[in-house]
């Protein structure tokens, strides 16, 4: 009894608050409420800010409340049916259990260790039309309408509620770890907006305009794809069931045939005596067949009903996380501005005033997007047969392996992402090895589900062992770490610095160390030891580069070892961007000065290795 007294006290106080706030526009409030709008929408269209503290108690609205507020009994003709929804907001403001569905999503997809989340909400544009028409119907100014997003913030998407449910702070959409796109699926949206979209200015389109037919077709496609996924599962079940049924039917058919044959034989043998009995048998068999068919039909009907029920449950589940809510064609402010310039009579020809009631068919759509992770590292390549990236010639793949695939597969599996992008500072040819310090790269993992701040030493060892195993000891990785987005530009621009090479060179004439060093010193008197080059684009690259002259520098040439009279091993430190193979062989005389010019006879490069990338 005591609790009931408290409740009635609370209700009276809430009622009194509402009655006070409605007073300035009581009649218009009543007409809107009788038409079929929900309580909050009536507040919205009239232009009064609703008292949020007193509202959530009004779930069970009975006729006594109606009498107390308005002082009259409700007109029975204008009561709303259970299937219809609010005319103005299409039951958006009545969504419940949002936290449950969010937690369900996070569990279903498998997100872990999330730092923050963010929301972005898109509203079907037919709501703006309906608000406008209702306010004109009641002869109020449509500029006084309170937009629906403000009210959604306080009722459905309350910050404190969501933060306590997900246990993580809410942040802006672009900076959040897990960002959620929320929309609503209103199937009659394009129909209602089709006539007014012709009046909107095409310069403010947010995405490409599609005709009504294509939109229907695309919606049907999306539904097909959804249903295909469901149907595939069901087809597997159906196939097994069909096989079982076929086997049973075949068995029964065989049995029936055998019985028929037996019956026919018996007829032939005993025509006169047992005709009636055979006919009875046939009739019995027919009856059995009919019964079987009826039973099969019943079973099929039951199965279909069960499947439909499962479909509905699964569709609601599939709206969580599988569909991307469509972007609007036009922004809400653009629609409002054009609707201002249209009078009531003109609007009345385009769309019905007041708007028509609709079934409660809108579903909420949630689509998650997770922030990408950037990983820094250095890779080494110990073979002369593996390209950097997968190589395609005229649509066909050449070779089976690539450095990018070895490195990216293991790391995406660690964070369970969908796919990744690989960027390195510079590249090398197929027949050139990468040793020493290694070449820096950045891997961008898209759609990760497990978030971490550090890669521990044990995990690094595991990754390195797995990569070595997969590539048979030819590709490794070093110095892994997690990094910000700003490091991506730095690694790409780092090509202009110095690089170190080691190569094996063959000369036609006998190689003399002293003569070589003397000539080098003559050429580099004025420039303090660096050789200045002028290179035209080499012939092997001319089909995809401009024809220009490039000025490059070589900082150091060292002779490591002389194997033979003709074979020499050389160390080079050059500026980034020099073509080393063309420096040594001369490239038909288009690089000056070249190694062969300094030595005095033809020279060719036999092997090349990259030692350091700075």
């Amino acid at each position: 009894m005591g609790n009931q007294v408290h409740k009635t006290d609370e209700k009276l106080s809430a009622l009194e608050i509402n009655i006070k706030s409605i007073e300035p526009q009581k009649e218009k409030f009543k007409t809107l409420f009788d038409l079929g709008c929900c309580f909050l929408c009536c507040y919205r269209i009239v232009g009064i800010i609703p008292p949020f503290e007193a509202l959530p108690i009004f779930k069970d609205f009975t006729e006594t409340h109606y009498q107390q507020i308005f002082g009259e009994t409700r007109n029975s003709k204008l009561t709303t049916t259970s299937n219809s929804c609010c005319l103005a907001c299409l039951n958006l403001l009545k969504t419940e259990n949002l936290e449950k569905s969010l937690l369900q999503l996070i569990k279903k997809k498998g997100y872990q260790n999330i730092d923050s989340f963010g929301l972005s909400i898109t509203i079907p544009p037919s709501i703006i039309l309906r608000e406008h028409c209702l306010s004109l119907y009641v002869s109020l100014e449509p500029s006084n309408i309170i937009p629906i997003k403000k009210i959604l913030k306080f009722t459905v998407f309350q910050k404190s509620k969501l933060e306590s449910a997900l246990k993580v702070p809410q942040v802006e959409f672009d900076q959040a770890c897990l960002s959620l796109k929320i929309g609503w699926n209103y199937p009659n949206d394009s129909q209602e907006m089709s006539k007014i979209e012709t009046l909107l200015p095409s310069s403010k389109l947010k995405r490409k305009r599609k005709s009504f037919k294509t939109r229907l077709r695309l919606q049907a496609k999306e539904n097909k794809i959804l249903n295909q996924k469901l149907f595939k599962q069901q087809l597997k079940e159906k196939d097994t069931e069909k096989e079982i049924e076929k086997e049973n039917e075949n068995k029964k058919e065989n049995e029936n045939e055998k019985e028929k044959e037996k019956g026919k034989e018996k007829e032939k043998e005993e025509e006169e005596k047992e005709k009636d009995k055979d006919k009875d048998k046939d009739k019995e068999e027919e009856k059995e067949k009919e019964n079987m068919e009826i039973e099969n039909e019943k079973k099929e009907n039951e199965k279909e009903k069960e499947k439909e029920r499962e479909k509905q449950i699964k569709l609601e589940d599939d709206f969580l996380g599988n569909i991307d809510p469509e972007k609007q064609l036009y922004g809400s402010s653009c629609i409002q501005n054009t609707l201002k310039g249209i009078t009531k009579n003109e609007l009345g020809q385009l769309c019905p005033i007041p708007p028509q009631p609709v079934k409660d068919e809108t579903n909420i759509i949630i689509f998650p997007i997770s922030k990408p992770i950037y990983i820094f590292g250095r890779y080494l390549k110990m073979s002369r047969n593996i390209p950097n990236a997968p190589w395609y010639i005229k649509g066909e793949r050449k070779g089976n392996y690539s450095v990018e695939e070895f490195v990216s597969k293991q790391l995406t599996n660690l964070f369970s992402g969908t796919h990744s992008g690989f960027v390195s500072s510079g590249r090398e040819d197929i027949d050139v090895r990468m040793l020493g310090t290694g070449r820096p790269f950045i891997l961008e993992i898209i759609g990760p589900k497990i978030y971490k701040k550090l890669i521990s030493l044990e995990e690094q060892k595991q990754i390195i062992d797995q990569i070595l195993q997969n590539s048979e000891g030819l590709v490794t990785v070093k110095d892994l770490g997690i990094v910000d987005k700003s490091h991506r530009k730095k690694t790409i621009k780092g090509e202009g610095k110095s690089k170190g090479y080691r190569c094996v060179v063959w000369c036609k004439c006998n190689f003399n160390k002293q003569l070589f060093t003397q000539k080098l010193q003559q050429l580099t008197k004025n420039t303090n030891g660096t050789l200045l080059l002028k290179q035209k684009t080499p012939v092997r690259v001319l089909h995809r580069r401009n024809l220009t002259v490039r000025q490059r520098a070589i900082y150091e040439i060292k002779i490591v070892e002389q194997i033979n009279d003709n074979f020499v091993v050389i160390d080079l430190i050059t500026q980034g961007g020099t073509y080393v193979k063309e420096f040594i062989c001369g490239d038909f005389g288009r690089t000056n000065p070249s190694f062969s010019q300094i030595v005095g006879c033809k020279s060719e490069i036999v092997q090349l290795d990259v030692i350091s990338v700075n």
């Binding site: 063959w506 092997r540 089909h543 580069r545 005389g589 036999v606």
Partner: protein, 151 residues
């Protein structure tokens, strides 16, 4: 044991009547003269080279961009240049393939002896981008013309 030079390893050699064409797999070709040309056989000296033929100077060939726009187009049999030799004969150098002229060797303009001495390496004459045959664009054009003539 000598390793092969890059010209022998990668480029394909085709000989057209005392001239050679070295083609790279990316369809860029070098043109020059072989050892059976009378300049090398009879050991003649080259006095001058003239690049101006029919009023157009081949040295004014400016090429822009990756697609090499602005290059002069050669059909089979067009002359590239003329060599004036010491025995008062002029030898024409013909382009044996269809293609677009990219560049003429700058070392030849001053040092004429390179054509004789180093005819495969630094004594080449010009670089030409070869036309690709049987691309999808050409197939569609040819089919269009065929259908029009039929109709």
């Amino acid at each position: 044991m000598e390793p092969k030079s890059t010209a022998e390893r990668i480029y394909k050699k085709e000989i057209y009547d005392q001239q050679y064409v070295l083609i790279h797999p990316n369809n860029i070709a070098l043109i020059g003269i072989t050892e059976e040309h009378p300049i090398i056989k009879e050991n003649l000296e080259i006095n001058s080279i003239s690049f101006e033929i029919d009023g157009i100077n081949r040295l004014n060939n400016n090429v822009k961009g990756i697609k090499k726009k602005g290059g002069r187009f050669f059909q089979v049999g067009d002359t590239i240049c003329e060599l004036n030799c010491s025995n008062q004969k002029t030898y024409k150098i013909i382009s044996p393939i269809k293609g677009k002229l990219i560049e003429i060797n700058e070392l030849i303009i001053d040092k004429h002896h390179l054509i004789k001495e180093d005819n495969y390496d630094t004594g080449f004459i010009s670089i030409v981008q070869k036309n690709i045959e049987n691309t999808t664009k050409r197939r569609r054009k040819n089919n269009k013309n065929k259908n029009q003539t039929k109709n």
